[in-house]
């Protein structure tokens, strides 16, 4: 059987080539012939705007332009049907006078009785910070929390925060109202962004959204109910479910 030998001469050549590659740049000198245009094209230098031919007697304003700042790897979002950011603070949501947070300190039930982090009660304790100690972490897959207002309310808006310490999108966010704790009677869906019915609760037409400190505000249009249930099915960072706070704005039904 014929064989090929990796000669020691080849090894020497390889090492020499490597040394050459590494040392060549250290010998580089800035070429005095470099054209000003080319030097300017470096984004490492501040640049000066040069407008078109100015009228006589006028000179161009020397505008110092900031260079691009290097940044690390951006966040990955693989989310279809994502809502465009509003680009400004959310406008005030108008509701009848006397509207209050019907969920504040009310009883909460969850499909995950033993949260990984936090307590279920934190969902209605009024603490909306995203820091550790302010959120509850439920297990993976479809999970839900149900809040009992302990009386019928005319609901105008549901405002929820899953987790806003980093930009995330929660999947299969479904918000429903009902008259009974088992969600059998008079169930109304206020929001549903489950685009593929992976929750088994039907396909929704609402868009995915990025969690922010503003929370997600859902218009309930004055629907009367005693219970609200919120579903989610993991998020764009991991498969767990989180809640910082849920507020339900309404007035006691008369």
């Amino acid at each position: 059987m014929q064989s090929i030998r990796f000669s020691s001469r080849m090894k020497i050549y390889a090492v020499l080539l490597l040394v050459f590659v590494l040392f060549v740049p250290s010998c580089k000198k800035t070429s005095p012939q470099s054209s000003p245009d080319k030097a300017k094209s470096s984004n490492s230098n501040a640049q000066t705007a040069t407008p078109g031919t100015p009228p006589s007697g006028l000179v161009p304003i020397p505008i110092e332009l900031p260079n691009p700042m290097f940044v690390g790897t951006p966040q990955d979002f693989k989310v279809s049907n994502l809502e465009k950011p509003l680009g400004k603070p959310r406008p005030p949501f108008l509701a009848p006078p006397g509207t209050e947070n019907a969920a504040f300190l009310k009883t909460v039930a969850a499909t995950d009785d033993v949260p990984i982090i936090g307590e279920i009660e934190m969902i209605t304790d009024g603490d909306k910070q995203a820091t550790d100690g302010s959120y509850v972490e439920l297990g993976p897959f479809l999970q839900s929390v149900t809040i009992d207002f302990q009386a019928d309310y005319d609901i105008y808006a549901v405002l929820l925060w899953h987790y806003h310490q980093q930009a995330r999108v929660y999947y299969d966010v479904i918000v429903q109202l009902a008259d009974d704790p088992d969600f059998i009677t008079n169930v109304r869906t206020l929001f549903n962004n489950d685009s593929d019915n992976s929750s088994g609760l039907g396909i929704g037409s609402d868009m995915h959204y990025v969690e922010t400190a503003e929370g997600k505000l859902i218009d309930a249009k004055g629907a009367r109910a005693r219970y609200v249930r919120l579903y989610s099915n993991g998020n764009s960072s991991n498969e767990l479910n989180h809640y910082i706070e849920v507020e339900v704005f309404g007035k006691p039904a008369k």
Partner: protein, 527 residues
């Protein structure tokens, strides 16, 4: 080092196949933000001849220095002279070298396994995809394997040259990326476990260790330190870079275990390899490699079904890969390209596994069937590799596409080039880019031909508005307020350049405004 001509020919063929999978349309995929950052950092070296290591970001200097080769080859002198090909050819080169390095291990892995490893490296979708990425990963994998292969060769003949080459590769690893420390941390326990298994088989560990000459060991360490120090100190222009390279580990440790947007569950990498899919796209799997690697791992430990190989090398690779996979999975911070380091180990084990499986069959027919299944599975990997590198190269349905720029950035740059042709200042046309948190990459790469581009984090009312403004959708209202509500009057009317929001990345929206006069002039010149 001797190896049969057939083995050499097959590995060479695999390298050629790898090249043919990686080289076409190298400039077609839009630049990733990280690639653009690396490109502009390289441009500083190209234009000023200087490099300064930043311990907070952007990794080690080898990528920058090695890119000088293709840049010099194409006579590039400035940022505007380089293109995607100049940059991406560097990882392509090291991807091919990675395959050729298998020649150094052919007698240890066994010829068949070496050939299979070469083929799998050539066609693995992850390897093909990231070989075309101007980032540090492919260089790190190549240098790491170079270190292992050189060290193995040293164990065969105690030749001083191999000791030096091992040191050079170790130094290059360290100077490429801070995550090299994970490779070092995997090599050490792998070596210890291999030695422990040697002792169980009756071999003397102390005799084995005594065969390593202290002078050679010192030479290896010295070579590693010298290479690393040369690069981190920018060839002694920035000696502090050496200290920075050590200090960087605190930063990277905090990032690795801190709260990051890149934190993913422990099974992220394995899931990515075994099964990925979305309702909008095809299914992806490199499960064949994972399955065969599991077979190879068991075979390496039990020594069953393998002959004519260096069992100690196999065991080292098995332990090294296992430890590295565990370490990478345990670190919360995860980006998909990081998995290449242990995926290469999995590929080496998979090659062993494939050989073991074929040898399990005692008769010709079952053996042929197994071979046929492996060939079909290999072709499926190749098909997926093509799909990842070309059809879905920037599409989020591709599991290896991570935080990637959309083709919209190319569209924006193309339209601005057209406008520059009718603007009196041409490429000196004033452009402003306004995005919060400097989230505008890779636009600086695509706007590199324009000499008057200003980058802002927020809308600055003291800066006169440029005739072209690219603004994040988040800041659109603030820009509108500046343009129309704040004094003084007599201002230009601004209109959107595109009839829709453009996306920097999926879900990151941009709007491009121009003065109405400029847009009218532009439209007037359109055929």
């Amino acid at each position: 080092m001797k190896y049969p001509e057939k083995c050499f020919a097959f590995i060479l063929l695999a390298a050629i196949a790898a090249l043919s999978l990686r080289l076409p349309q190298l400039d077609a995929r839009p630049m990733h933000g990280d690639e653009a950052v690396n490109a502009l950092r390289f441009a500083e070296l190209l234009q000023k001849g200087s490099y300064r290591y930043d311990p907070d970001e952007y990794h080690g200097p080898t990528l920058n220095y090695l890119t000088l080769l293709p840049a010099r080859f194409t006579s590039a002198r400035s940022l505007s002279d380089i293109n995607e090909l100049t940059l991406r050819i560097v990882p392509v080169f090291f991807a091919v070298l990675l395959i050729l390095l298998l020649l150094m291990l052919a007698d240890g892995l066994g010829q068949a396994a070496a050939i299979i490893a070469a083929v799998l490296t050539a066609v693995s979708p992850a390897f093909v995809f990231y070989s075309r990425y101007y980032i540090h990963e492919m260089l790190l994998v190549c240098f790491t394997f170079g270190a292992i292969a050189s060290a193995y060769r040293y164990t065969r003949n105690r030749n001083f040259n191999w000791a030096i080459l091992t040191g050079v590769f170790l130094g290059l690893m360290h100077a490429t990326k801070e995550t090299s420390v994970i490779a070092f941390a995997s090599m050490l326990p792998a070596l210890l476990l291999t030695l422990l298994m040697m002792r169980r088989t009756g071999a003397s560990v102390s005799d084995t260790l005594k065969k390593i000459k202290p002078s050679h060991l010192i030479a290896t360490i010295a070579a590693a330190v010298i290479v690393s120090a040369l690069l981190y100190s920018s060839f002694f222009k920035n000696p502090h870079g050496i200290l920075d390279s050590a200090a960087s580990y605190a930063t990277y440790f905090n990032r690795g275990f801190g709260n990051s947007v890149h934190n993913h569950p422990w099974y992220y990498y394995l899931k990515l390899l075994i099964y990925s899919g979305s309702p909008q796209g095809p299914l992806w799997s490199e499960g064949l490699i994972v399955f065969l690697a599991a077979v190879g791992f068991i075979a390496a430990l039990t020594k069953k079904g393998i002959a004519g190989v260096n069992i100690h090398l196999l065991r080292f690779i098995a332990f090294y890969t296992a430890v590295m996979t565990i370490l990478y999975s345990a670190i919360p911070y995860k980006t998909p390209w990081c998995m290449l380091s242990f995926l290469h180990g999995l590929i080496l084990l998979a090659a062993i596994g494939a050989v073991v499986l074929t040898k399990l069959a005692s008769n010709v027919l079952p053996r042929l069937i197994i071979c046929l299944i492996l060939i079909v599975a290999g072709l499926h990997l190749t098909f997926q590799a093509c799909r990842a590198a070309y059809t879905y190269s920037a599409d989020p349905v591709n599991p290896y596409v991570y935080a990637h720029s959309t083709a919209d950035v190319v569209t924006i740059a193309g339209r601005l080039e057209q406008i520059a042709r009718i603007h009196p200042d041409a490429r000196n046309m004033h452009i402003q880019v306004i995005c919060p948190a400097d989230d505008y990459w890779p636009l600086p790469w695509y706007l590199r031909g324009f000499t008057n581009v200003g980058y802002f984090r927020h809308v600055d009312i003291n800066v006169p508005p440029a005739p072209v403004i690219i603004v994040s959708a988040n800041l659109e209202d603030a820009l509108a307020e500046k343009l129309y509500e704040l004094p003084p009057g007599g201002r230009n009317l601004y209109v959107p350049l595109f009839d829709r929001y453009m996306q920097l990345r999926p879900g990151v929206y941009l709007q491009t405004y121009t003065t109405k006069d400029l847009l009218d002039t532009f439209q007037h010149h359109q055929p």
